[in-house]
Amino acid sequence: MATETTAAEGSSLVFHPMDQFIVKPLFGDGAIAWYTPTNVTLWLFLAILAIIGLLVLSTSKRAIVPTRMQSIAELAYGFIYKMLEDICGKEGVKFFPYVMTLFMFIVSANFLGLIPTSFTTTSHFAVTIPLALAVFLTVTILGFVKNGAGFLGLFWVSSAPLALRPILAIIELISYFVRPVSHSIRLAGNVMAGHAVIKVFAGFAAIAAISPVSVLAITAMYGLEVLVAFIQAYVFTILTCVYLKDALHPSH
């Protein structure tokens, strides 16, 4: 979609809003095989380093009176732990490392993606779909293992009139299978849209008369993106908790 614009204009006004999402090999120009180290690899590993820095290095002193970074680590821990405990109850606590992994990965990747010229891994469906599928499969398998056939009670709304229940069951079934789709597209879509809009505004900055407006718009969008980076990680995590609750307590 961006290329047509460029070709048509042929002027200084160049829009490549989607180029920031291109996957490139880190070394050389070769084709991208499944094992090739790419910019995806680089930014995923930077996310690992950020998480290690935040949660491991900052807590290495085990201070009773925490330093700033240790406070952030403790805040993140308490935030997710409380969320999981509030939604899933005591049983959910054993999934804490899993939920924390999801949250820390998404939030770090989102914020790393806000660094100019960086690559935003969470803007790719190839990243968010496996995340959402992992949650979906975990919830489905866990639901059947823990509750057996009783897990199907999730689709049988016993509080509704008997005549309505089969129809509701179909709707519930569809909504259950749509979960991973919405779960993954919400995250990638939000992150991608924001980054693309910033790129479009940046393209307008080439025109001298518009550039102050463009810079202001980029600043405003960036602020919004900071918010989105956190909120989307939060939404993904809280939905994971809600789905986990379905598996642990399937009754409506």
Binding site: M1, A2, T3, T6, V14, H16, M18, D19, F21, I22, V23, D29, G30, A31, I32, A33, W34, Y35, T36, P37, T38, V40, T41, L44, F45, A47, I48, I51, I52, L55, V56, T59, R62, A63, I64, P66, Q70, A73, E74, Y77, G78, F96, P97, Y98, M100, T101, M104, F105, T121, S123, H124, F125, A126, V127, P130, L131, A188, M192
Partner: protein
């Protein structure tokens, strides 16, 4: 990246010959295996780091802090109780000292009072004795004075009678003077 030509190998369904994206790079399925492979590695590494190192450590820190706070609160409670105890002891000592002081003062007052009473009684007795003595002296003087008056009056009457050319009758004069002085 937009204009520099890139090798033919890369130019596929996703990137054009200028290195720009064709459509959404998110939908380029050629890249999916690569992204998923590295994502899985990343997630496994993060999971291991969190579950083996970070989360137990943070949990330990939080538990330790909670323990420290509980201990400190208990210690503070202890110290407070001790302070209350010390204050009570102090107040008790203060009250004791005050009553002791009162007792000593009352004793001293009683001692002084008894001494004073003794002295007053002694002085009263002395005064009474002196007054009695004085009264006696006064009575003597008075009696003496009465006798003297009679003697002087008898002598004067005898002299007067003699001067008037009469014969002084001692008995008559005595009786007359007695009658006059008694009246």
């Amino acid at each position: 990246m937009a204009t520099e030509p890139i090798s033919e190998e890369v130019v596929g369904t996703c990137v054009d010959s200028h290195g720009s994206a064709i459509g959404m790079p998110q939908l380029c399925f050629d890249w999916f295996p690569n992204q998923i492979f590295w994502l899985v590695i990343t997630l496994v590494v993060i999971f291991l780091v969190l579950s083996r190192v970070a989360l137990p450590r943070i949990a330990a820190i939080l538990a330790e802090r909670k323990g420290t706070i509980t201990n400190d609160l208990a210690a503070a409670e202890d110290l407070k109780a001790k302070a209350v105890e010390a204050e009570e002891a102090y107040n008790k000592a203060l009250a004791d000292a005050r009553s002791e002081a009162q007792r000593i003062a009352a004793e001293a007052r009683a001692e002084i009072q008894s001494g004073l009473d003794d002295a007053i009684a002694k002085a009263d007795a002395e005064i009474a004795a002196k007054a009695a003595e004085s009264e006696k002296a006064i009575a003597e003087i008075r009696a003496g004075a009465l006798e003297s008056i009679q003697v002087v009056a008898k002598d004067t009457a005898a002299e007067l009678v003699t001067a008037l050319g009469g014969e002084a009758d001692a008995k008559a004069i005595d009786s007359a003077v007695d009658a006059q002085t008694k009246g």
